[in-house]
């Protein structure tokens, strides 16, 4: 087995803490990509209101609305797990860290996500 294969093996460990860590990194990367797109769109204002409106128009398509719903989920996971990490760094809730991830980050996060995603879906994708 190559040294790389041995190194990569540890990421196969399916422990909740490691899963939370990977989720935090993955959502962070996705948000970084979104941030660039966001700044790029805002930047269109420099070319006048017409150009900005034209740029915004592309985001009104149903497929972009679905991406927007995915963005909501990404933000919720990243934010809630971020609070979990801050608490853990202060030494709070170490014996409950699994429950904090699955119950609070994923479970509670899913509730907020549904509360936001369902109206978003019905109002934008479903109606069109």
């Amino acid at each position: 087995m190559s040294a790389f294969a041995v190194q990569v093996r540890k990421y196969r460990q399916q422990f909740s803490g490691m899963t939370a860590h990977v989720v935090q990194r993955a959502t962070g990367l996705l948000l970084l990509i979104y941030l660039f797109l966001h700044v790029h769109t805002i930047r269109q204002l420099r070319d006048g209101p017409a150009a900005f409106n034209a740029a915004l128009a592309t985001f009104h398509s149903p497929s972009f609305k679905l991406l927007e719903i995915a963005l909501l989920g990404t933000v919720i996971l990243h934010a809630l797990n971020g609070v979990r990490i801050m608490l853990l760094d202060l030494g709070i809730g170490h014996e409950r860290q699994r429950r904090m991830f699955w119950g609070y980050t994923v479970g509670f996060g899913a509730l907020i996500f549904l509360a936001g995603a369902v109206p978003m879906f019905l109002n934008s994708v479903w109606k069109q």
């Binding site: 087995m1 041995v6 190194q7 093996r9 540890k10 990421y11 196969r12 460990q13 422990f15 909740s16 803490g17 490691m18 939370a20 860590h21 990490i85 853990l88 760094d89 202060l90 030494g91 170490h94 014996e95 860290q97």
Partner: protein, 210 residues
């Protein structure tokens, strides 16, 4: 049958050149730690049946240099271990009186669950930070330093805090992945020790509480 028994069987019947380390066979020496199905465990404490797989994959511990087959060199592990001054430094080495440690102190509360480290290197091998940073102390060394710092009889505080507070190798590198806590064969809450030290450094006025 444990994984260690299986390895002996393979060595006896199939490949006499197979190398692995073991000593006590009862999970108290920490010699037979290896990666079993991708998770660092003690071979003598892991039963093949409980793994639930038809083929058991064994590999040397990650994050440590391989000597041969399943044998790794624990030298980097103990190099980091030594950096945090693992030895007891008493206030008065000549003292003949027994120290009294009240049950209410942090040391008395924390020690029973955290002093059982057998230096097997499982936490060091499971740590995702350790795999990218050669300078990181690793969970076991930090836990050892934590116990020494919590000990009211010990005086080497500043010397231990220096490597712990180090920007490149200190406790701030910990990303609370909990892999060390999950794999520790002795069930030590290593991430908890690291977080307690972080908190103690952030709020020095409450250092005694650890």
């Amino acid at each position: 049958m444990t994984v260690l028994d299986a390895l002996f069987l393979v060595q006896r019947e199939q490949d006499p050149s197979l190398s692995f380390r073991c000593a006590c066979r009862v999970g108290m020496c920490g010699t037979c730690a290896m990666s079993i199905d991708g998770v660092p465990r003690l071979a003598c404490k892991t039963r093949v049946r409980t793994l639930g797989t038809a083929v058991v994959q064994v590999a040397p511990l990650p994050n440590l240099p391989v000597v041969k087959d399943l044998v790794v060199s624990l030298e980097p592990f103990f190099d980091q271990w030594k950096r945090t001054l693992p030895k007891f430094r008493p206030r008065d080495p000549e003292s003949k009186t027994l120290a009294v440690i009240p049950h209410t102190t942090a040391y008395a509360r924390q020690t029973p669950s955290k002093r059982d480290c057998i230096t097997c290197g499982a936490c060091y091998a499971a740590c995702g930070v350790k795999s990218t940073s050669g300078e990181y102390l690793g969970p076991a060394a930090v836990n050892r330093a934590f116990l020494r710092l919590a000990d009211p009889r010990d005086i080497a505080v500043a010397e231990r805090l220096a490597p712990l507070n180090d920007e490149r190798g200190g406790i701030w590198r910990c990303h609370t992945q909990f892999n060390c806590t999950a794999v520790c064969p002795k069930g030590i809450a290593l991430t908890d020790s690291i977080a307690r030290l972080k908190r103690a450094m952030l709020f020095p006025g409450r250092f005694e509480e650890l």
